[in-house]
């Protein structure tokens, strides 16, 4: 029973793209084509990825008979490639770690290996350097992100491009660069550092520097797009209500970028823990016995102590996969904006 109303049938109001069949169109959005990788590392940080709201159900499966065969073939190709390139090798490392070697076997052998004090030292050093790197990159990263997004100044675009630089530099080059600049002998700042009695290269600070360098862009590249998207409205509203700059930052800005920051920190951490090349070069000195976890793997393998190498590698694989899982869980929170 139609009620007496002035609506002329169903209205001709603005179409919100509501359609007949379930779950096909969403609201019309202009597609923004972007080339930035969806998940982790490298790429220049400019165009943010807009999640599409127009997701047609993928694949009218079976709509085209011939296409079905192609689909299966493609699937097999992909799974095969990934299996032989990634899955099998990684699982072998896991198995090897617990494989019996000579007289000792399995989990016990593993435990013996990792209770070697060198292990503790190596992982401790790795962790220390990583935490320093992540801390520095979080603090400075936050600052630089805010500067890049909220302010304009000459050279802003240049800075934005330079920030991405560390991701595309070879680790060996990073190490070499740091050595050339800060090594006590022959380094540019060598004499200065000597006079201050600061040993950077061939010492822990060098490792920290190298680790910080390689993981520098990760936090920034996560925060910048979020800052761009949320805009200044909320902050301006807070200011108009009397909040000072620091208050606004702590109570409005920071919570808004919380997940992006966490995401960036986890990525940085994973990167920092895994650095090898740069760290190897800055710790080449004879007097320095510092060995990070990654160096441990390389050195033990080189000394034919494969079992230890595998043990250390296993731990690193574990950490890497944990980081991956955490990041995968975090991603929906990151992309969900209130």
């Amino acid at each position: 029973m139609a009620d007496t109303s002035w609506s002329t049938g169903l209205t001709t109001g603005p179409t919100a793209g509501v359609t007949d069949a379930p779950a096909r169109h969403g609201s019309p959005t202009d597609q923004q084509s972007t080339i930035r990788p969806g998940v982790t590392p490298p790429a220049t940080a400019s165009v943010p990825v807009k999640p599409s709201t127009r997701n047609r159900k993928a694949g009218g499966a079976g709509r085209n008979g011939g296409g079905h065969v192609v689909r299966i073939l493609l699937r097999l190709l992909v799974i095969g490639y990934l299996f032989f390139l990634v899955v099998w090798p990684v699982s072998l490392v896991v198995l090897r770690t617990f494989a019996p070697v000579n007289d000792t076997g399995g989990f016990d052998a593993f435990l013996t290996r990792i209770s070697d004090p060198a292990f503790g030292y190596a992982f401790g050093l790795t962790l220390t350097a990583a935490l320093w790197a992540v801390g520095l990159n979080a603090v400075f990263g936050l600052g630089i992100s805010l500067l890049l997004v909220r302010y304009s100044f000459p050279g802003r675009r240049l800075l934005s491009a330079l920030v991405d630089l560390p991701m595309s530099v070879s680790p060996v080059v990073v190490g070499l660069a740091l050595v050339l600049a800060y090594s006590s002998n022959q380094g540019w700042f060598g004499p200065l550092l000597e006079s201050l009695d600061w040993q950077i290269i061939f010492s822990t600070p060098g490792i920290v520097l190298a680790t910080t360098f390689v993981s520098l862009p990760l936090v920034i590249r996560e925060i910048v797009p979020v800052l761009q998207e949320i805009g200044t409205e909320q902050e301006l509203a807070a200011r108009s209500l009397g909040a000072g700059a620091v208050q606004t930052f702590l109570r409005i800005t920071l919570p808004a970028i919380k997940w992006a920051l966490v995401y960036g920190v986890v990525l940085s951490l994973a990167r920092a823990l895994g650095e090898f090349g740069a760290v190897k070069i800055v710790s080449q000195g004879a007097s320095f016995n510092g060995e990070t976890a990654t160096l441990l793997v390389a050195n033990r393998y080189g000394n034919f102590d494969e079992a230890s190498a595998y043990a250390a590698a296993f731990l690193l694989v574990l950490i890497a996969i944990t980081a991956l899982v955490v990041v995968t869980i975090l991603r929906p929170s990151k992309e969900h904006r209130s």
Partner: protein
């Protein structure tokens, strides 16, 4: 008959999209599939185009059995609500696409594309990319692209839905005039009954997967088959236990045989119409009855809020 739909059914899981649809779409005419959102009209259109498969039933296009033909082979032109422009191709290349697939000679393609560009008034945009065009222009390009292959039928899925009101009206008129020139059997989906009434030669009203009524705009408006069609195609109001159009009620200042008394509780002037809400004395609890009169009538009868009036149905409808 250009398109014959026979006993078509379609379900999406538990959801019944189409139920026992039987339709004949007349050749050379502009037919509208009209109905509320979710009613099944787009699904039907896509089944006719070959972009979806019916669960049962058959489709015949221009006398050919098309039920199991893939979309590529049906020679139907399809225009999408959001244009589906090939973004990396120029307007001219977009229009030429279907012709290039058919491996027509280059000179012939150029000829056709040029004449189509002229038909849709996009000649000066030939070398532009779709992103540089307005929504209305993109849709005209999409139309030209669909017409290029000389389809036996032209299907449009809410073609003006993504455009704003003014452009929508313009394109609506333009589509009508285009059809008058080109005469290809056209079937378009819309939920806007004004659009259907204005543009179409025939209307098929579809609701909840079923055909409610088929007929010309006049037939549907004046002789609706049921309350749904009545309510969907135009304004309705309840009077003496039945649904009637507000402008079918007559309003008097004095009592006439068969009329009922009431009081004007609201008067809104919208342009040339005056819309009145009249509370009937007999039913003070019921919602007021809506009546439409012209400005002139309202003035000459002195209809103002609070005044007593008498309502009756137009003689033809009694």
């Amino acid at each position: 008959m250009s398109i014959t739909v026979s006993q078509v059914n379609k379900n999406f899981g538990d959801f019944v999209a189409l139920q026992d649809i039987n339709l004949d779409i007349p050749t050379g005419q502009l037919t509208a599939l009209l109905g509320p959102s979710g009613g099944g009209k787009s699904t039907l259109l896509r089944i006719i185009a070959g972009l979806e498969n019916a669960d049962s039933g058959s489709i015949t296009i221009s006398g050919r059995e098309a039920t199991h033909l893939p979309a590529q082979k049906r020679n139907v032109g399809f225009v999408f609500q959001h244009y589906a422009a090939f973004k990396h191709m120029t307007v001219a290349k977009n229009i030429a696409f279907g012709l290039e697939i058919r491996k027509l000679p280059k000179a012939r393609i150029k000829e056709k594309v040029d004449s189509l560009l002229e038909l849709v008034h996009l000649t000066q945009f030939a070398g532009r990319l779709p992103a540089q065009l307005s929504g209305g222009q993109r849709q005209r390009m999409a139309l030209a692209r669909a017409l290029a292959i000389e389809p036996s039928v032209l299907l449009l899925d809410e073609p003006f839905g993504a455009l704003d009101a003014k452009v929508r009206k313009e394109l609506r008129d333009w589509l009508r005039r285009l059809h008058d020139e080109v005469h290809v059997t056209t079937l378009f989906v819309t939920h806007d009954q004004e659009e259907a009434l204005e543009v179409a030669d025939n209307i098929v009203v579809i609701n909840q997967g079923r055909v409610e009524q088929v007929g010309t705009p006049d037939e549907l408006y004046d002789q609706p088959a049921n309350d749904f069609v009545l309510g969907f195609l135009g304004p309705v109001t309840e009077f003496q236990g039945r649904l009637v159009r507000p402008h079918d009620l007559e309003i008097f200042r004095i009592e006439t045989p068969g009329s009922v008394a009431g009081r004007i509780v609201r008067s809104t002037r919208v342009g040339f119409e005056v819309r009145l809400e009249v509370q009937l004395q007999a039913t003070p609890e019921a919602p007021p009855v809506n009546v439409v009169v012209t400005r002139g009538e309202a003035r000459s009868l002195g209809l103002t809020v609070g005044g007593t009036v008498f309502l009756g149905l137009q003689p033809a409808l009694v």
